[in-house]
Amino acid sequence: MDISTSHPDSLQALAAADLCRRCDPDQFKFQTTDELEDLAQVLGQARAVNAIEFGVGMGRDGYNLFAMGPEGLGRRTIIRRYLERLAPRGQAPSEWCYVFNFDTPHKPCAVELPAGRASRFRQDMARLVEDLRAAIPAAFESTEYRAKHREIETEFGERQEQGVGAVGERAKNQGIALVRTPAGFGFAPRHGDGVMNPEEYRKLPEAEQQRLESAISVLQEELESAIHDMPKWRREAQRKLRELNRQVTRAAVNGLSEELKAEYQSLPAVLRYLASMQEDVLDHAEIFRQPKDGEQPTLFGVPLPLSEMGESFLRRYQVNVLIEHGGTDRAPIVYEDHPTHDNLVGRIEHTAQMGALVTDFTLIKAGSLHRANGGYLVLDALKVLLNPLAWEALKRALRSREVRIESLGQALSLISTVTLDPEPIPLDVKVVLVGQRLLYYLLHAYDPEFGELFKVAVDFEEDMGRAPEADLLYARMIATAARQEKVRPLDRAAVARVIEHGSRNAGDAEKLSVQMRDINDLLRESDYWAGAAARKVVCAEDVQRAIDARVERADRVRDRLQEEILRGRLLIDTTGSRSGQVNGLSVAQLGGFSFGIPHRITARVRLGAGKVVDIEREVELGGPIHSKGVLILSGFIAGRYAANKPLSLAASLVFEQSYGGVEGDSASCAELYALLSALADAPLSQSLAVTGSVNQHGAVQAIGGVNEKIEGFFDICRSRGLTGTQGVLIPASNVKNLMLRRDVVESAAAGKFHIYAVDNVDQGIEILTGVAAGARDAAGQFPAATINFRVERRLSEFADRTRAFGATAVAKGRRRTGPRP
């Protein structure tokens, strides 16, 4: 069944009131926005707000949030505001420190402390070390220690004396002296108190020399065996000394750490740490004895190793406060602007020492997951995905519920320098990802873990319904934004103008855009113009100027295109009429600025095999939706006019002078008119332009960008001079989208420009040709002279002619073969 009207000339142009839904300033009782209260609620985002409330309240795993929607809606602001409101108070999360692991130094231990205690713990430990540096040397200075130390040394000395002394005694009896050399002992013949002069020695009788030499040789052997045991004795003495040192140190350390242990009684992790630290101090007491500069500590003249000495060694007793929440009593809300892998999970820094990279637990730095632990982490989804390995690290942390610090170089086995493997910290965080809708759907489709971890979709709307009470709410939102942006107050006419702009931005008379960025920009720009005009209040004039100036800044390309049309280089007729040619309309968007531009669409028909050729498609300048629109035309023509005959039509359709691509089906209506006009040989009025898509039954369907399209044609007509016959045919279902420019509305009101709302193809063709479309009568025939009649007749002729060609060809074939004898 076809849709067609029975009253061909009843279609009137739309009234001016239908072309733009004005906002009446007089409905407002306020003078300026200063009188309006702040709006606490978020306008038009009920779904998103409910989702945030649910997501924040839901304490289970995997209920992380993904806030999706286009840029400029104020998603981050809304999320922050709601998180601040909903974040639980009075329970600041734990603070975390890293401390040295005395058992496994490359695995620093994480210590959890109640809020506000981490910093104190660090100070307490620093003070303990300071105190130890005073107390331990003092203990070693005590008379008791010195006496015991001397005792051990004397014991060792005596043993040594006994060993060496006995040999010395035997030597003395044989007239030989034991000589102490810088590095050991030797034997030489005596002479008085000293050693015999080599000269004198040579004067000795040979027998005596031999005696001395052999005696010395025996003595040397004896001495060797006596000295041989000395390292053992020294070790024993050292062990005794160490034990003594430990005892002395233990007394000093115990006294100082008891106080701390009492203070941290309730924290077993701290107590465990203090116990291991105490043991470690006992093992390394010499570090605290602060050797004087340049002096190497020695034991029996043997220098002690210096490798672990000094300040750097004492670093191991420091506390690395990773996270502290000084002063707040609420869950943290962290926005990570630069979510690299390291910024998320933390990093281990290195310092260069003698050309080598070294690190220790004090160089562990927190990431935003640490900072947000116990609270909320807001991240930009795209940035997380763009930073190598950040997304994987985030998922791993959420899944395992712990933050493990691992350097990227280590994770990828790129660097094998000394590094650490810090104990992971338990994680309890709610992550809010902010991103485009496309990203959400792509992640959902391609990352199986995404759905598990981000169960709450927070879907933001671009616009809200424009119910009667919405205008006032919107006005309050404008007032709130104006105060936040610190701009001049707006008077009510200005507010009305902003509301109209909001509706125009939404592309719908029944909607208002809630793109906060655009609203804020408009307020700031209006404020600028109000300032330029030295006004204290922003007027409608300033708002309009801001809108116009914005268009002016962006419309260079539109101007050039319009100029080309007016100069006659792009062929667009705005007067007269012509068969198979119609003005179509397209919308271009460049850098956030959309504008409409007319296009000439032409159709040629001839006898053929029932195919409508879309030239755009043939040269691959047309997209699939455009091709679909053209194929629908074939369907409509065949169904309506050639139901019982072969469709013997060949037609070609083209967007003239289109050198870029064409996409969308909003020109399918115009293409159908061109085709019908060509078939019926009925000229179409060139003072009209057409937009709308069509279905196989001939119904005209809604399209996008209707305002820009109308204005695009209007601008051309006005430049050439409005004749009063010009106008645009739009789908009736698009009337609700009309928020036209004031100059268009004024021309329409003056009868100089007309907007026709069209339901079906018949209405359109009647307006364009001035000839009735015609509906089938009871006998199924179209009335004579109507467009439909003419089209059907033409197609019928094509079919008959095809049949005639076929018959002729058969006859010719028969003649050629001839009758058989």
């Binding site: 010195r146 001397r150 000395g157 002296a177 000589v179 102490r180 050399t181 810088p182 590095a183 050991g184 002992f185 030797g186 034997f187 030489a188 013949p189 108190d193 000293g194 050693v195 015999m196 002069n197 080599p198 020695y201 030499e213 010395i216 040789s217 040397q220 001495l223 060797e224 000295i227 041989h228 000395m230 390292p231 340049g294 002096e295 043997v302």
Partner: protein
């Protein structure tokens, strides 16, 4: 009696920092000059000159041959080290100091120095007997009373024998000065 000069015996074998520190402290308190006297022990050179001179290493317990040249080298090195140590200890104080090397018997050289200088601190065992012509009074470390008396009375130099215990010298000197 006013002590004007303090001499500290620096031994090539028993180098003692504690002895040196005690001497520097003493010189500082008495506003006296300090001389570090390094005695290259004649006995060592004699020993090294013997054809069968062997040294048994203290730490290694192995035998090494010796000759005079290597012993002299080693003594020079030790003298330099002793001077460096003296410089580092005394250099931190306002004490005026000097360093000298002599060759001979430590006891003889130090006793001779004690005659010349007012107070000598040295790591020596007591000489068996002193020629009475030497106007030197010998005090053993730990004998505070004798040292105090010696300091109060005029006449000749004083030789403080450190003995084996370095710390004891410092303690003795400190206690005498405290009185």
């Amino acid at each position: 009696m006013k002590i004007r000069r303090v001499i500290v015996g620096l031994d090539p074998v028993l180098q003692s920092r504690a002895l040196l520190e005690a001497a520097v402290e003493l010189a500082g308190r008495m506003e006296a000059e300090l001389l570090g006297l390094f005695v290259e022990n004649q006995d060592l050179l004699h020993f090294a000159g013997l054809p069968f001179a062997r040294e048994v290493g203290f730490a290694s317990a192995t035998r090494r041959t010796l000759d005079v040249e290597s012993m002299e080298r080693s003594l020079r090195a030790l003298a330099q080290e002793a001077q460096r140590t003296l410089a580092s200890v005394a250099g931190r104080t306002p004490v005026q100091w000097s360093f000298r090397t002599v060759r001979g018997s430590p006891a003889a050289e130090l006793l001779a120095a004690a005659e010349e200088y007012d107070l000598v601190i040295a790591n020596l065992d007591a000489p068996a007997e002193l020629p009475p012509s030497l106007g030197v009074r010998v005090v053993r470390a730990g004998d505070v009373e004798t040292l105090r008396r010696a300091l109060e009375e005029a006449g000749g130099g004083i030789l403080v024998l450190a003995g084996a215990d370095d710390d004891l010298v410092g303690e003795t000197l400190r206690r005498v000065l405290e009185r």
